[in-house]
Structure formats: C-alpha cells, structure tokens
C-alpha cells in the first residue's frame, strides 16, 4: 500500500520534472546549450499564473496566459541572448545562461517582492480517491494528465506536421536542414516557445500544488533539470521523459528511506553518478 502510494507520488513529481526537462532537451538537441535559465520560465509561469488567476478567477485563463507569455519570453532569450554567441565555445552560452537565471531570480524578487504570492481562490484543492485507496489532490491528477496529454500531442505534431519534421531534421543535421531551406531561426523560435511554455505550465501547476510562487522556486529545477537530461542521454526526448519519471520515483523512496543521510535534492546527483558509472551515455540513449 505504502509502496503504491510512494510510486504514485513519485509519478506526480516525475511529471513535473518531465515538463521542465523537455524544454531543456529541445534546446540542447538544437543548439547544444545547457539552458540553465530555462527554470526562470518555470518561475515566470508561476507568477503570470497566480496574477491572472487572482484577477480573473479562472485557472484555465491563467495557464494559457502563462504559457503564451513564457513562450514569447523564450523566443526573446533565444534571439537576444543565445543567438549572438552561438559561435563561441560552449562554456560562453553556459555562463550567459547561469547569469541570466540569477538576474531573473533577482528581478522576480524586485518586481513581486521576496515573500511570494498565493492564490486568492481555491483551485483543484479537492481530493480524488483512485481505486478506492489512493488519495490525490485534484491538482496532482491534473499535473499528471496534463503533462501526459501535452507531451502526447507534441509527439504527434512532431511526426505528423511539416514543421515538426523540419525541427527533427534540424536537430539531426543542422547544416543539411538549412541547405534544404529550413530556417534555423524559425526552428529555434519554435523550440524555445514550446519548451518555455511547457516550463510555464509546470510552474502554474506547482504553484497551485504549493499555493505559493516565490522568486527562488526555479532554483532546484534549474540544476535538477540538467541532471535529468544527462540521465536521459543528452538530447534524447524520450530518454529525458523516462529519466524524469524514474527520478521522481527514486526521490519519492529516497526521501523516506535515505532522508537521514542524503538530502532529497542530492539524490538526483547520487543517482546520476551511479548511472553514469554504469552507463556513461545515459540511461536511455543508445550506445
């Protein structure tokens, strides 16, 4: 019983990680950049969400607004911050990205204050009992179903539409794709838009789960997301999704049984080290 509950809680957490890691993977696959500032869009999503929800009383409006704002924010970051330095050695965009994240965190604090914001209305706070024994918050169910649905739709779009195929082509061979008339910039825009919008969705859902948005809420996801995409085999979308879910479950058990000597947020990295010793290419990448 406890075992099942822990797995279920792990999957809730894993779905959130998956939403965040997907954007990171998209960016890494395309530009080979470790996009630390991605977590800023998770936080931004939370803030836009809580403000729109408190104004309109509608969570749906909040989610849509958060995803759109973060999506365009993502495009801005791509064009203004990353594109001008793409030809530099990889550590340059990495440092830019870290700097951007720190600046964003402080900006959130200056604009919205240090204490964090909460929802004025209750959203998805009710309880759902599944199979007569597992108790979830409605928001927990929503985050699992929501991420599954969004990721499902995205994978359909990626294989069934021209632009999706163009994105895939660009990731596997940018130069060849460009010579076929695919605009790198357009593909970059799309990847950043989609990735940042997903992070924003995760941000809204987490802010509903905790009933709190704070300037530092992205700090753990910022580096844990990196651990997840490495676990998943850098650049592999399916790998990252699987790694996110596995990490969620491992953490769930780790919190209970290893919590006394290993911090929950260190578990991801301990797990990462173990996996890399055994499979240096990542859990799910083909060797």
């Amino acid at each position: 019983m406890l075992f099942v509950e822990l797995v279920a809680q792990g999957l809730v957490q894993g779905s959130i990680y998956a939403l965040i890691a997907l954007g990171l993977t998209l960016v890494y696959g395309l530009l080979r950049i470790l996009h630390v500032a991605h977590a800023a869009f998770f936080t931004l999503g939370g803030y836009v969400g809580v403000m729109v929800a408190n104004q309109t009383g509608s969570l749906a409006a909040a989610i849509v607004a958060a995803m759109i704002v973060a999506g365009f924010g993502g495009i801005l970051v791509f064009r203004l911050c990353y594109q001008p330095i793409l030809h530099q050695p990889p550590f340059v965009p990495l440092i830019a990205s870290i700097g951007l994240y720190i600046a964003a965190e402080e900006l959130f604090r200056i604009i919205f204050g240090p204490s964090g914001l909460s929802y004025k209305y209750e959203f998805l706070q009710g309880q759902v009992v599944v199979f007569g024994m597992l108790r979830f918050k409605e928001a927990e169910i929503a985050v699992m179903l929501g991420s599954a649905a969004i990721i499902g739709v995205l994978s359909l779009l990626q294989t069934r539409t021209r632009i999706g195929v163009a994105c895939q082509a660009t990731v596997s061979d940018p130069q060849m794709a460009e010579s076929f008339g695919i605009s790198l910039r357009k593909v970059g825009d799309i990847n950043f838009f989609v990735g940042s919008a997903l992070a924003a969705f995760a941000g809204v859902m987490v802010s509903v789960l905790n009933n709190m948005v704070e300037p530092t809420m992205g700090s753990v996801p910022s580096y844990k997301g990196l651990a997840i995409i490495v676990l998943g085999g850098l650049g592999s979308v399916r790998g990252s999704l699987a790694a996110a879910l596995v990490l969620g479950v491992v953490e769930s058990f780790g919190t209970i049984y290893l919590g006394h000597f290993l911090d929950r947020n260190a578990i991801a990295f301990a797990f990462l080290i173990l996996v890399l010793m055994w499979r240096p290419q990542g859990l799910f990448a083909r060797a």
Binding site: E122, Q125, K137, N210, M212, T216
Partner: protein
C-alpha cells in the same frame, strides 16, 4: 560644467565636509537577509528595526543625537555575514550591532563583534553557539532546544503520546528537534519516526504517505512559513487531520495565506502573543500595521525588540558603546513586545513560551507554557 565651476563645486564639497557643523549621529548596524531564500524574513526584520529607530528618533534620539541604522544584506549566509560584520565594525564604526538574521549568518558574525568589543544583540536566531561567542553577544530569542522542549510539553498537555517528527535539516530545525527529543520521554511522549527535509523542498507527497502509514496522534514539524505552508496544506489534503505543532518559523501571516483553510488549528510555539494585554505589545502591533500595512510577525517583533534594547542601552550610556554599553544591557530590564526581558550570565533571556493557534485566519492565544525548570536557558555553568 566648465573648469572653474567644477573647482568651486569641489572646494565647496570639501568645505562642507570639514567645515560644516556635523550633526551628531549614533550608528546602529544591522545584518539582515534582504536577498536570497530568507529575504521575506529579512524584510520583516528590517521593518521591525526601522520602527524601533523611528520611535526613538521621534522621542529625541540619544540625548539629541539622531540614530542612524546602517544596513547590510547577509543573504542569511555565513560568507556574506562575515564581510557585512567587518564593514559594520571597521568602516561604519557602529557602536552596537543587531542581528536580524538566521543562525548560520549570525554565528559567523558574532565572534567578529565579540573580538571588536562591540555589543551585538541577536533578535531571532536560535542556535546555541551564538551566545557562546562571548560576553558582548546578547540574544532576545528563546533558544531552539528550549522551544523544542516546550513543544514536547505542549504535545503532552494536548494528551497526545504518539508523535511523528518532520524536521527541517538546518541549524534551526535540528536545534528544535534536539530539544523535543530530549524532553519527550519526561512527558511520556513516544516518537514513532522522524523524517527530514531541506529548505528548498515544497512538495512533501512521499513523506506524507509515510506519515499516514505511521498513524501518529500528533505531528511536530519544524520549518519556516514557506516550507510549513505547503507542508500543512498537503498534509490536510492527504486526509491527515491530527494536530500539527510548529514553531517561530511558522509565525507569519504568510503561513496562513499559503496553507489556506488547512492552517486552521495549527499550533505554534513562539514569542509574540497577539492577544497579550500588555500595552507595549498592543502599541507595537498597532504601530507596525500603521507603518507597513501588514501584521507584525515574530521576526518583526523580535528584531524590533533587539533594536529597542540596543537603543535603551545607548540611552543609559549617553551614546557610548563598548564595555559601558555591554554593562548597561547586562544590567537592564526591558519591557518589550515579546515580554519583560532580562539577560542571564550567558546573555540568554528567560521567558514564557507563547502558544498561538490559527483561528479564523489569524493567530490567537492558545496557552502559555510557563515552566521555569523546563524552559531554563543554558547558563555559563553548562
């Protein structure tokens, strides 16, 4: 601006600096976390300190000299607190320091104030090492261990014997946990299990599943409002209905806002009694709300108190710092929003523990734990 007018401006500036009569000022230094994870508490602390200074200046300052508050952000981190304390002492030459910060940073700053013989009044950090830095360090907060012991007594007063502990893995949480565990056997309180979490954690789903399977009668959970808010909210959502005892860290309107309806009934061991009949406390609560438009919390009240004690000491010495000020604070009795305080030989205060309960979206008096033996702060002897 041409050369001539520039020359005049520079000369005037120098003349003003050296020639003009300097208004006498007394400098009080404070280190507070204004950025980083503890920034919200830092704001509350600084608001408290500023209110104390404004109050004193409105009443004529120190013998006519205005009090200036010199502020440094320490991010609640030792590596920021060390340069902050050094600057306060060396550069700003403050006569007295106030800590409006957490234990980690205050522990780093205290020895520097001690070495410079600048009295340092610590508002709300609760780690035992703080006052061990030396006799220039004073603390207005009840130590973590003492508060933890009060928690065990409260559990027993409520008739609950089977307890699960959820402990925040930092100086604050561990000191509280140690006190609770030490006193629990005395009251026949049985600790079924203890789980730990760290400051960035906001999601407790897994931990709560395990707590449910332990089936406790009460939960003793240490934390700050930003961890405790989500924790209590998620506990109630998961169907855990047993009482939760928190501590000073919960003591903020923000806790009630974040936990929402789930916060109702949460008990908190703290130092600020909102329903206190004391005119000092009531005046403070009223002034604080008037000045800042939000309700004072434990951090604001404690930092106000620490600053007010420093000012009261300075009044006695006529603005002199050093040993004179140390003696003035040592020997004084201070009526403050958190009670009437005197310092023992280790410069800890002895006071009752206020138990507040969340009722109708506000903190109210639940009970007062007054047990001189149980709540005795450590002395120099031990």
């Amino acid at each position: 601006m041409n050369h001539k007018s520039l020359a005049i401006a520079v000369t005037t500036a120098f003349a003003l600096q050296f020639g003009a009569p300097v208004l006498a000022q007394v400098k009080i230094g404070i280190n507070v976390p204004l950025t980083g994870f503890a920034a919200a508490d830092g704001k509350s602390a600084l608001d408290g300190a500023k209110l104390a200074v404004a109050d004193a200046n409105a009443k004529g300052g120190i013998g006519g000299a205005k009090i200036e508050l010199v502020i440094y952000d320490d991010q609640a981190s030792p590596k920021e607190a060390t340069p902050a304390a050094t600057k306060l002492i060396e550069k700003d030459k403050v006569v007295v320091g106030v800590s409006g910060s957490y234990s980690a940073s205050t522990r780093a700053a205290a020895p520097l104030f001690q070495a410079a013989k600048v009295p340092y009044v610590v508002a709300y950090s609760i780690h035992p090492d703080v006052t061990l830095a030396g006799d220039y360090v004073f603390r207005t907060a009840t130590m973590g261990e003492v508060q933890g012991r009060a928690g065990a007594k409260l559990a027993s007063d409520l008739g609950k014997k089977k307890v699960v502990m959820i402990t925040l893995k930092n100086d604050f949480g561990q000191a509280l946990g140690a006190g609770f565990k030490e006193a629990a056997p005395k009251f026949g309180v049985n600790i079924l299990n203890e789980y730990e979490y760290s400051i960035p954690d906001r999601q407790f789903g897994a931990l709560i599943s395990k707590v449910k399977s332990d089936n406790p009668e009460l939960i003793y959970a240490s934390g700050y409002y930003f961890t405790a808010g989500p924790l209590v909210n998620q506990l109630r959502a998961a169907g855990v209905t047993v009482p939760v005892i928190g501590q000073e860290g919960y003591d903020s309107e923000k806790f009630i806002e974040i936990a929402g309806v789930a916060s109702e009934g949460t008990l908190v061991t703290t130092s600020l009694d909102r329903d206190s009949p004391s005119p000092v406390t009531q005046a403070f609560l009223k002034d604080f709300r008037a000045a800042y438009n939000y309700g004072a919390d434990m951090v604001g009240a404690s930092t106000f108190t620490a600053t007010a004690i420093a000012i009261e000491g300075l009044r006695k010495t006529g603005g002199k710092g050093g040993e004179a000020l140390k003696k003035a604070i040592e020997g004084g009795t201070f009526s403050t929003p958190i009670g009437t305080l005197t310092f023992n030989d280790l410069h800890e205060v002895k006071k009752d523990i206020q138990v507040q309960v969340v009722k109708d979206k506000a903190f109210h008096r639940h009970s007062v734990i007054s047990d001189p033996l149980l709540l005795a702060p450590p002395t120099k002897a031990k």
